[in-house]
Symmetry: C2
Subunit: 345 residues, 2 copies
């Protein structure tokens, strides 16, 4: 491509070592030769070959990011913040999408190692002790976001279970008497890392179990829209009936809220509710999880749980850089979550 230190050395009639010293500005060097070298370098547009440098230093200043896909707004925001932070710290990012494919995830990680990234930020689809062993065997540090693997591998996230618990608590305070929890098919929990959704489901369950009078439903599956439809039709009817006949009681009897393990579920459901003529929050309350940015365009304003994406991203980069420099940050870092009021419950 361009000119090399070797050629500059030849032109200036000095050794490559001297050229290096001039370029780096360190070590003793005659000001005149230095000036000459720098002039030649500038004139000829010298640019260091970072590949060659990395081969020696053992550092590429690249971090790899592996996530599901970035049409998923949560990951788009995550990647955006990761890139910003990494850039600030002098690192570049390699992105690969594993698309919830376990094999592909391994292949990508291996290839990142081969490409000599200095560390990896991973939202894993794999799980279990074997995968844990695999990650621990890698020659570079990995920090995990989103889905937990093991306490041996640094994890950054929020306390999902606690957050879900609090969300349900809030719904109960709002006098909902029937709570439907919607999340992805947990039947795949053995073959996919569904940690975050499992935790949310657990938080929901834990809080629900404390109540004896609250009816609860767990919908977990591809067909959640249809299942929900059946669940809700009666509820809406009841609610409307109440409103007409016994307005005082309408807030007490059979008020249903749908709590979704992810804003996208909530939005999809809201769209259908709209089609079905079920009003939010009058007929049924709805609550999401993640607080993705697109909510700002949706009305009514979705009640949700803030997932601290940006802080997770920043902390992930910071902790990874620490690890790459042999500092040991905390293994598990829970960042603050917040319940976002909204107007759908």
């Amino acid at each position: 491509m361009g000119i090399t230190t070797k050629e500059i050395a030849k032109i200036c009639e000095v050794s490559r070592t001297t050229v290096d010293r001039a370029l780096k500005g360190r070590g003793r060097i005659n000001p005149d030769t230095k000036a000459k070298i720098l002039t030649v370098a500038r004139e000829r547009g010298y640019r260091p070959d970072l590949l060659a440098r990395s081969l020696i230093t053992g550092k590429t200043m690249h971090i790899g990011v592996v996530v599901f896909d970035i049409r998923n707004y949560y990951f788009a925001e995550m990647l955006n913040s990761i890139e910003n932070r990494a850039y600030e710290k002098g690192y570049y990012v390699n992105i690969n999408l594993q698309e919830e494919d376990r094999e592909k995830e391994i292949h990508i990680i291996d290839s990142m190692v081969d490409r000599r990234v200095d560390g990896i930020i991973l939202c894993p689809v794999n799980k279990g002790p074997e995968f844990e062993k695999y990650i621990l065997s890698l020659p570079i540090p990995v920090v995990v976001i989103g889905n937990f693997i093991s306490s041996q591998i640094p994890f950054i996230g929020i306390n999902e279970k606690q957050a879900a618990y609090e969300a349900v608590d809030m719904l109960l305070k709002k006098a909902y008497s029937r709570i439907i929890f919607v999340c992805p098919p947990l039947v795949y929990r053995d073959s996919k890392n569904l940690y975050s959704h499992e935790q949310r489901a657990a938080g929901f369950q834990e809080r629900i179990n404390m109540e004896s009078t609250i009816e609860s439903v767990l919908i977990t599956g591809m067909d959640y829209i249809n299942i929900l439809k059946n669940e809700l039709k009666s509820a809406a009817a009841d609610s409307k009936f109440d409103t007409l006949e016994q307005p005082q009681l309408s807030n007490k009897r059979q008020r249903t809220a749908v709590f979704c393990s992810g804003d996208i579920y909530a939005l999809t459901i809201m769209k259908h509710l709209n089609e079905w003529g079920i009003r939010v929050p009058d007929d049924v309350g709805i609550m999401g999880f993640d607080n993705i940015h697109i909510l700002e365009f949706i009305s009514p304003q979705l009640s949700t749980v803030s997932n601290a994406v940006e802080s997770v991203a920043i902390t992930a980069v910071d902790n990874l850089v620490d690890l790459m420099n042999n500092k040991k940050p905390e293994k598990i870092k829970f960042l603050e979550h917040h319940i976002i009021g909204g107007s759908t419950v």
Copy 2:
């Protein structure tokens, strides 16, 4: 890190060339030695150092992607599709966000060249002959998306002007008699590459100019919401008046449509319209541009223009790979756009 070919060679008591042959599976080699080498390689977990390989081959199999930011859904979708396509073709992607910062853009491109990416996909914020010269001087190919630079630099996109023209045409067919075009501050057109928005504005203008009875307004600025508010208040009043008093004429007189140079503008405006009590499309029509995925969650369904993000991404990768292999694709490639009906006009 792991074991090297040199060490394998020593263990197997052969030369590194032989090890290479075994590993690559090419060239004549004794099946036994080959088997032995492969066994050792597997046992010791040999992995090639791609850095070292790249240093020799001159190819890193990486492509750089430079866009504004990926909280912008258009770019998130673009990057997603670029990564998918690149991965299919055996390339990896380096992502950098230039955040509409002209200096940063140059710095990023320079650094990508230093890092020896094989080519770059760029949505430029810079423009003009100097920048064109800079891009052409790079030792690697660049393909441009979104904002045009010059006919010398490969560009992939849709015919924005034509698409805007058709969109306005459609609005006119729907009997709108007043069309407001909203786009980002074109006052920055000298310091920023606003090509796509300028083209859309031009298409709008061209079609409008063909009509003598159509009123048109161009709103371009940060404060577009307030400006629009004033423009619309009267319109809504008129329209409502019509509906009440002269229903037959309501489709004819002063029907206003807001055509936005980007779906995000349209969504932001819709949100405000909602707050102002102005109904869409009854009181005012609204049309976006881009057809970003989040529209699927918005109701009413936004009328918009499909921007062919995925095909642009795919074509960009394909053309870049062609360029890297010294094939010369077309300099300018317009992909098909579509007007998406929706229910907001």
